[in-house]
């Protein structure tokens, strides 16, 4: 899919067919995620691939807006690793992981899949419950959970361009 078309037509997809997502396709998505830019090239991201049905079902009990995860064939939990935080990098991990998350969403769309960013950060209580469920160390911040599957809903173009948000030279 053309890059500009991909960005312009990507939508949050919350309903998925039962078709499994192959490891070959998943690896393509993860490669795109890890090609994202990162502050001082720290690449302080980690990814948990959840295919276990019981774990997928438990996620919405922690994150109510992530109900669709229970019926997705897989989910990716994008995390940032605070152990990598050098003095020049502090506070940037969540930004880099947001860029990696956007790459995951775009790659999924380009490959005929649907996905949606469901937030964990900055809800620290939710983060701790996700840490408990997935044995995630306290030095790791789970940024978001992205369910991915073949789309079982269609969404049209949503034009979000607003000229008033563009300022020339000064605010």
């Amino acid at each position: 899919m053309d890059t500009i078309k991909c960005m312009m037509t990507r939508r949050s997809i919350r309903k998925y067919s039962e078709k499994e997502v192959s490891n070959i396709v998943l690896e393509k998505i993860l490669k795109c995620a890890m090609q994202a830019p990162s502050g001082v090239n720290e690449q302080a991201w980690e990814f948990i691939i959840v295919r276990d049905k019981e774990l997928l079902k438990q996620i919405p009990t922690i994150s109510p807006f992530a109900g669709m995860v229970a019926k997705a064939p897989l989910a990716i939990i994008v995390c940032t690793n605070l152990n990598n935080e050098s003095i020049f990098y502090k506070g940037m991990g969540i930004l880099d992981c947001s860029a990696a998350t956007e790459n995951i969403l775009l790659a999924a769309h380009a490959l005929g899949l649907g996905a949606v960013w469901t937030a964990v950060y900055p809800d620290e209580a939710k983060a701790n419950k996700i840490r408990n469920l997935f044995n995630i160390p306290s030095s790791i911040i789970p940024l978001c959970i992205i369910p991915i599957g073949y789309p079982a809903e269609k969404k049209g173009f949503d034009d979000r361009y607003k000229e008033k948000k563009v300022h020339q030279n000064k605010w």
Copy 2:
């Protein structure tokens, strides 16, 4: 350009030719930026387009790692608007603007341009100096400054995929 190829081959470009970037191309990039996902669809982003040569030259005096901005034909300052922060959205603006920034970097690459994310956030002292220079209100967080131009350097493929960063079902 193919989406997967675009994500896999995008690199940080810090040297630009003197060729101007047209407003038509710039608008395509900004449209991609605003199609990024955002928490509760808040779209709390704002963009300052800097083409003024004097302003471009002043940016590196505030942000030493952004020296290349002085010689770029334009820069985009990506900001998040805290006035949009509803209770369900608090703290998410910088994440959404990171996704919008990634769209800008990818769109630039897809359109034959080069760009690089130079950080302002989370350096509050730097943010205040950028606010002063561009008349940005205190309720607005400048996330980053992205110089954009036609590339005057070539960079090959940099494989960042690391299998050890992928965890199966549990950490």
